[in-house]
């Protein structure tokens, strides 16, 4: 399996929307490397032709009749929002941000 590098960890932090200090990058590179090393015991296996299992039962889509039902109260849900405006979730600007 590919070796985990510090720049990989920095890239993953960006994907995961986490800000890492230099010390954290060092620590996670070491610790995640250990877990991946342990997982390398799976490399020794011949897994060609083995079907992947993502879920114990094999997920199937569950549908119901399209009948309106009572749902959560809008005001109650919005009361938990960090910021709201006119009954909607408010966020800082989305467009025009730095790349």
């Amino acid at each position: 399996m590919p070796e985990l590098r510090r720049e990989d960890v920095a890239h993953v932090a960006k994907l995961a929307r986490l800000i890492m200090s230099d010390a954290e990058l060092d620590m996670f590179t070491h610790q995640l490397g250990q877990v991946l090393d342990h997982a390398s015991d799976m490399n020794a296996l011949d897994l060609d032709g083995v079907v992947a299992t993502a879920h114990p039962f094999g997920l199937v889509n569950v549908v119901r009749d399209d009948v309106p039902r009572t749902c959560l109260d809008h005001d109650v849900v919005m009361a938990m929002a960090p910021d709201a405006e006119d009954g909607r979730f408010a966020v800082p600007r989305i467009l025009g941000e730095a790349p």
């Binding site: 994907l15 993502a54 960090p82």
Partner: protein, 474 residues
């Protein structure tokens, strides 16, 4: 504190009241919570109202249910309407859910009285409660030791006689391991048996809710109450709750029980000795013992520590500071999300999000996540083969008794290895139970684990009951 079963009988018969049972529970919580740090929140007012309402209904001659007046502790990743629910994370501090988890509704419908929310490893990621953002829980049996985790608070609540029943969640052993370390019965039910609606998701293909109790029959009563189909959970099995309480005394005569080498090897000598004694007890009770080796179980740990973080990294993407919980202000939305998640998540949660994001990322998906899913298939196939030779499997729940605080926190891999015996059942979606059997180092309890095929809970309770009787506790 009396068992849940006896408490419910006494309350329903009018020998005591739900209110006086609750006062006993609250008194114990207030006398020991500061020292043990079990409850993050105690809903004294709501519990008093529930108990008073039950007493009125009983006075009118109503049967209020099989958990009449039984105080219950809820792991703080289970939603209860308007009760703070944190997952022991700063990112949810102050959040109050607008709905009940289905298990909470079912407990209430059976006459139980939820008293509060218990501490856990943040987002249920851990094996000691040391990962809680609000500080660890202490093991009531020895306060220099961990209670296990992640449902450590729920286990400690029952072990400290604060409540006779607690609910936890088990993704890789998080009910069974703390049950073992605190001397309790802990059940990880079949995947789909108990609705997860209102359980804050960690790894959705593995998570199950289950009970922690002092007795096997209390666990059976509680599981009957919370099990059964729920249209609000798409992974919920289509059938009603199974009959379990009626099978607790069935015994193991004629049953084939497989003793699995990989569920024992590597455990401390005192733990191995307990499993060996359990084998003798089950044999004397009429079971046929089969020695088995299932090497695939060892690979389960590697697969689990890629699959669970992968699912967690996806599930925890919802904590972005937009709709609920913490928001750290910043000039644009991406900076806000980064600042919020960086401030809100603790180190272990970040470690797992990073691991999962890496395992799922372009270029590494096949090498890690894809391989892990194939190993999951091998584990499930290995269980199937084992169940051709045995009705139930037997092993240890944990490699050691409760360990000291700080002994594994510097080395995440050492902590992960403590889940090696419990993980296979989560990968296969099958049930398992941990039952206290004997004591080991420093007089601390040892848990023995019985595993069964899907929906074999009745046989697991019967087997656990045989061990409970032989252990001389009840």
């Amino acid at each position: 504190m009396k068992s849940a079963r006896q408490t419910a009988l006494d309350v329903q018969n009018g020998d005591t009241s739900a209110l006086s049972v609750l006062e006993e529970s609250l008194a114990q919580i207030y006398s020991r919570n500061e020292e043990l740090h079990v409850f993050l929140y105690v809903d004294e007012e709501g519990a008093r109202k529930s108990a008073a309402a039950l007493d009125e209904r009983i006075a009118r001659g109503e049967n209020v249910g099989s958990l009449a007046g039984v105080p219950v502790a809820l792991k703080d990743n289970l939603c209860q309407t308007n009760i703070p629910t944190t997952c022991s994370s700063k990112i949810l501090e102050g959040w109050r859910p607008p709905y009940n988890a289905t298990v909470v509704d079912r407990l209430l419908a059976a006459g139980a009285v939820p008293v509060g929310k218990t501490n856990l490893d943040e987002f249920a990621m851990g094996s000691s409660t040391e990962n809680s953002a609000f500080g660890p829980t202490r093991n009531p049996l020895n306060t220099s030791r961990v209670p296990g985790g992640s449902s450590g608070g729920s286990a400690a609540a029952v072990a400290a006689d604060m409540t006779p029943l607690a609910l936890g969640s088990d993704t890789g052993g998080s009910i069974r391991q703390p049950a073992a370390l605190c001397g309790l019965v802990g059940v990880k039910p079949s995947y789909g048996l108990v609705s997860r609606y209102g359980l804050i998701a960690f790894a959705s293909s593995l998570d199950q809710i289950g009970p922690l109790t002092k007795t096997v029959s209390d666990a059976a009563i509680a599981l009957e109450v919370i099990a059964g189909h729920d249209p609000l959970d798409t992974t919920s099995l289509p059938e009603p709750s199974p009959s379990l309480v009626g099978h607790v005394e069935d015994g193991v005569a004629g049953m084939r029980i497989g003793v699995v080498r990989e569920l024992i090897d590597g455990a401390d000598a005192d733990v191995v000795a307990s499993v060996e004694r359990a084998v003798e007890v089950l044999k004397e009770a009429g079971a046929t013992i089969v020695e088995l080796s299932v090497p695939e179980f060892r690979l389960g740990l590697s697969a689990y520590y890629l699959i669970a973080p992968a699912e967690a990294s996806s599930n925890l993407a919802r904590f972005d500071g937009v709709r609920y919980g913490l928001r750290v202000k910043a000039d644009d939305v991406t900076a806000m999300m980064e600042a919020t998640r960086t401030a809100g998540f603790g180190e272990e949660v970040k470690r797992r999000i990073m691991l999962g994001t890496y395992a799922l990322s372009a270029g590494y998906y096949d090498a890690y996540y894809g391989q892990a899913l194939k190993v999951r298939t091998l584990t499930i196939d290995a269980f199937r083969r084992a169940y051709r030779e045995a009705d139930l499997l037997l092993g240890a729940t944990t490699p050691s008794v409760a360990f000291e605080f700080g002994s594994k926190t510097a080395d995440p891999m050492a902590m992960y290895l403590s889940d090696v015996f419990t993980i296979p059942s989560n990968l296969s979606g099958e049930p398992a139970i941990s039952v206290p059997f004997g004591t080991g180092e420093a007089g601390l309890p040892i848990g023995v684990q019985l595993l069964g095929p899907g929906r074999s809970e009745a046989q697991l309770f019967a087997g656990a009951r045989v061990l409970e009787i032989a252990d001389g506790r009840l």
